[in-house]
């Protein structure tokens, strides 16, 4: 054991000199930290379970670019945001009616109006509900008056765009001349561009944005003790959204990619660790026993080695529709051959060392010789080979997912790319959907390549210089 730690600290001393190796190690550690803190970092907390649930993503804009694209454009688009803070007032008028008002404040200072304003709350009981919008010019416009009946903790969703069309049309009439109004109908206008525009008697397109502080008010009139609303919040749906935009299904891509990180890492590390362990043991046993055992094992190895992995993986995934664990199993089934040959030739050399002979003379069993005297010498090599086979495991999984054969209960980067191809993201130029997943696959592969090549270099010093 002491030897092992001594060897490890020697190795670390060498490894510290390899800059690329340190970068690789750094990226892997950072990814592990990100995975540990994933629940805190995820902007959409239920991404892992509700990635394919359309309702969960309904308030987003489809195919919205990332928020930071605003830095590079002359006109600033509204980012999607969620307002949770509100002022709560209870009015008690003389007739004994009790009304509750929730007021949300929103600072509007971008150049294009939001796509939509969506009000969410949990309703209980029976009550009339009034939603109002207060513009910076002091104009208060009630845009929805509805009567909810017999609710039992149900979600109420009101959209300014859909439920506020008539109110927007009324507002428009106050400013715009008769002729313009005649050409319009309340269905054809976009309410938000009117509510957030500096209205004047011009054509519709010419409205400048009316910047300033807006207030959204939800007023609920209590009819009895039971009726109440809980947890109200407002979502401002904008043209840009999140750190990495949204896809055509309105899903937040940053959340998806973050949720995919742990799967990429798990697939890569588990597959390569198990298959390298099997391969190393296989090579050692084959070399150690020699004779017909070696011949038989080499034949099996050669059969496996002459199977092209990806095509078999595709066909078996198409036929068996595996989940992620069976997919890892299938990959291990074909990947273990990778390290056999090198290990076998190394083990053949070790086998002839005098201390092995001495151990045998002292009466050590096969197991003792293999595990005590041979395996420890091959551990460094197997770590390098593990690191080097991680990228191909990740790429193979994403290739299978790209064909739409991935595990549908999880989110992986390959699946996001599959969705992107299906939705024609390449043709439409939705780069924020195509670039990041592949970039992440490449970075993961790169960091393990950094690790593996650095270890390899330390173990084969001959290649360092002439």
């Amino acid at each position: 054991m002491k030897d092992f730690f001594g060897a490890l600290s020697d190795f670390w001393k060498e490894f510290k000199k390899e800059k690329t190796g340190l970068i690789g190690l750094g990226i892997v550690i950072v990814s592990l930290l990100i995975i540990i803190f994933e629940p805190l970092l995820l902007p959409w907390k239920d991404t892992n379970t509700k990635w394919r649930n359309i309702d969960y993503w309904q308030d987003n804009t489809p195919s919205a670019p990332p928020v930071w694209t605003n830095w590079f454009t002359p006109t600033k688009a509204t980012p999607t945001s969620r307002i949770d803070e509100y002022a709560h007032e209870i009015h008690d008028d003389e007739a004994g009616f009790v009304s509750e008002t929730y007021t949300f404040t929103y600072h509007y200072d971008t150049d294009s109006s939001p796509q939509d304003i969506i009000f969410h709350m949990m309703g209980n009981g029976t009550f009339p509900l009034v939603c109002e919008i207060v513009r910076p010019d002091g104009n208060t416009i009630p845009f929805a008056q509805i009567y909810e009946e017999g609710l039992f903790d149900q979600d109420i969703r009101l959209s300014l765009n859909n439920d506020g069309k008539d109110a927007a049309f009324e507002l428009l009439k106050q400013y715009v001349s008769e002729e313009v109004v005649e050409q319009l109908s309340s269905r054809s206008i976009q309410s938000t561009s009117i509510f957030f525009g500096a209205l004047s008697d011009k054509s519709l397109e010419a409205f400048a944005p009316l910047k300033g502080t807006y207030q959204f008010k939800i007023t609920m009139y209590r009819t009895d003790e039971e009726s109440s609303i809980k947890a109200p919040y407002v979502i401002v749906t904008g043209d840009v959204s999140g750190l990495l935009g949204t896809d055509s299904e309105k899903r937040d891509l940053f959340s998806g990619l973050l949720a995919g990180l742990k799967w990429a890492l798990a697939i890569g590390i588990v597959t390569s660790a198990i298959s390298v362990l099997i391969g190393v043991m296989y090579g050692i046993i084959s070399a150690y026993f020699g004779g017909w055992v070696d011949t038989a094992m080499q034949f099996i190895y050669q059969v496996f080695n002459s199977i092209p992995v990806l095509p078999v993986l595709i066909v078996s995934s198409a036929i068996f529709k595996p989940n992620i664990y069976t997919l890892i199993g299938v990959m291990v089934f074909f990947f273990w051959t990778g390290s056999v040959m090198t290990v076998r030739s190394m083990a053949l050399q070790i086998k002839e060392e005098t201390y092995i002979e001495a151990a045998r003379a002292l009466g050590a069993g096969h197991r003792r010789i293999i595990f005590k005297h041979m395996v420890p010498l091959l551990i460094p090599y197997s770590f390098a080979s593990m690191a080097l086979s991680v990228p191909s495991a990740i790429v193979y999984e994403s290739s299978v997912s790209l064909l739409g054969l991935g595990d549908a209960t999880i989110v992986t980067w390959g699946q996001i790319l599959h969705d992107a191809i299906q939705a024609g993201a390449i043709l439409k130029g939705i780069w924020w959907w195509v670039l990041p997943p592949g970039l992440l696959i490449s970075i993961m592969g790169m960091s393990f390549a950094f690790l593996g090549f650095s270890m390899d270099k330390i173990l084969h010093p001959k290649l360092k210089t002439r």
Binding site: T20, Q302, V303, S306, I307, P308, V309, L310, P311, V312, I314, V315, S316, A318, I319, V390, P391, S392, I394, V395, S398, S399, L402, L403, G404, L405, L417, A420, I421, I426, L427, G429, W431, V434, L435, P437, G438, I441, S442, M444, G445, M446, F448, A449, F450, F453, K462, L463, K464, T465, R466
Partner: protein, 345 residues
């Protein structure tokens, strides 16, 4: 001598192929059974539609008889081991049957024709790409080996590690997005324009369609080759006869290209064939992104249309091609390096 070595290697390759096909037939036995039953039902229905003037009972009798005849023809009533053996035999004799939905360019449903149409296109694309990869890779590798630890060596090794885990299909997507839809330099996919031009334009049109897929393969491929070339050449440069050649005043270019490259030839050829094989088996689905109508695109379509016979035949052919490549590898290796033919007598 070499004849025996070659025969032995080919025989071993054939045996390996049969074993792999047996394993795969056993693995996919149930699914193939079901597809066959479905296609028998379809055939019986098609045949009974043709017989119009028949009593319902007679019709049922006829259907029953046909069904049984076909089931025994395809040996679906036999024990499992025999079914697997039968299917293995069918596969190695290239008797793949008919597809369920995919059609060849002439419109027939013979699986062998469909796969046969795809093979040359895949081989064309990947061999031409591999040729360029190897040329660029060897040049860069020699440059790297000349000054190990120098700027070229270090920077290109760095890039090698960056592209090590980069998925080919993703680079393809990015290049399409940039070159096809932004710059509009290349067509978005396929192998020919429609309508297909004639004469010399036919080849120019095909080259134009091939350019971007090839560029993608080469951009990903040559780094790894350069890295291996560097290591092989570096080992050779340490040999005494190289030092002797240098001492005799032979120019460095000549030392590199005549002395070193000749010794490095066998491992370089191995590596070239291996890289061709690995790119055919590893980058094959990237054809789907370019709609390059080869084997990879066929996988893509067969998966989407759930066409099991085509999928199985495609797999059998890919494994076969891979096997042929491995045999060629050993044969050329044995030819180039007489020491390999040990035990050939």
């Amino acid at each position: 001598m070499y004849k025996w070595f070659a025969l032995k290697r080919i025989g071993k390759g054939v045996i390996t192929y049969v074993i792999i096909m047996f394993i795969l037939s056993a693995l996919f036995n149930t699914v193939v059974d079901n597809t066959m039953r479905a296609s028998i039902e379809e055939q019986v229905r098609a045949e009974s539609v043709r017989l119009k003037n028949l009593q319902p009972e007679a019709l049922q009798n006829f259907q029953q008889q046909r069904r049984e005849a076909l089931i025994s023809l395809y040996r679906l009533d036999r024990p499992m081991l025999e079914r697997i053996m039968f299917r293995t035999w069918n596969t190695i004799t290239f008797n793949f049957g008919k597809s369920t939905s995919i059609r060849s360019s002439r419109g027939d449903r013979e699986v062998l024709t469909i796969v046969g149409e795809a093979i040359p296109r895949t081989v064309l694309l990947f061999t031409v790409a591999a040729f360029f990869e190897i040329v660029v890779g060897i040049i860069l590798g020699l440059k790297k080996a000349q000054k190990p630890g120098g700027f070229i060596d270090r920077s290109s090794s760095f890039i090698t590690m960056i592209v090590y885990g980069m998925p080919t299909f993703w680079l393809a997507m990015i290049l399409i997005m940039f070159f096809v839809y932004q710059l509009k330099l290349f067509p978005s996919g396929g192998i020919h324009s429609i309508p297909t031009p004639q004469g010399i334009m036919y080849f120019i049109d095909m080259l134009w369609h091939m350019a971007l897929p090839m560029l993608t393969l080469v951009l990903i491929g040559f780094w790894g080759i350069a890295f291996v070339v560097r290591n092989i050449v570096l080992g050779i440069l340490q040999d005494d006869y190289i030092m002797a050649a240098r001492a005799r005043g032979i120019p460095e270019q000549s030392v590199l290209f005549k002395h070193t490259l000749r010794t490095a030839a066998p491992p370089l050829i191995t590596m070239s064939i291996l890289s061709l094989l690995s790119s055919i088996s590893g980058a094959i689905i990237f054809e789907g992104i370019f709609s390059w109508p080869g084997l990879g695109n066929l996988y893509w379509i067969a998966v989407q249309q759930n066409d099991i016979p085509v999928l199985m035949a495609n797999l059998a052919i890919t494994v076969g091609l891979y096997q042929i490549g491995l045999i060629l590898l050993d044969l050329t290796y044995g030819f180039m390096d007489p020491r390999i033919k040990v035990g050939g007598k």
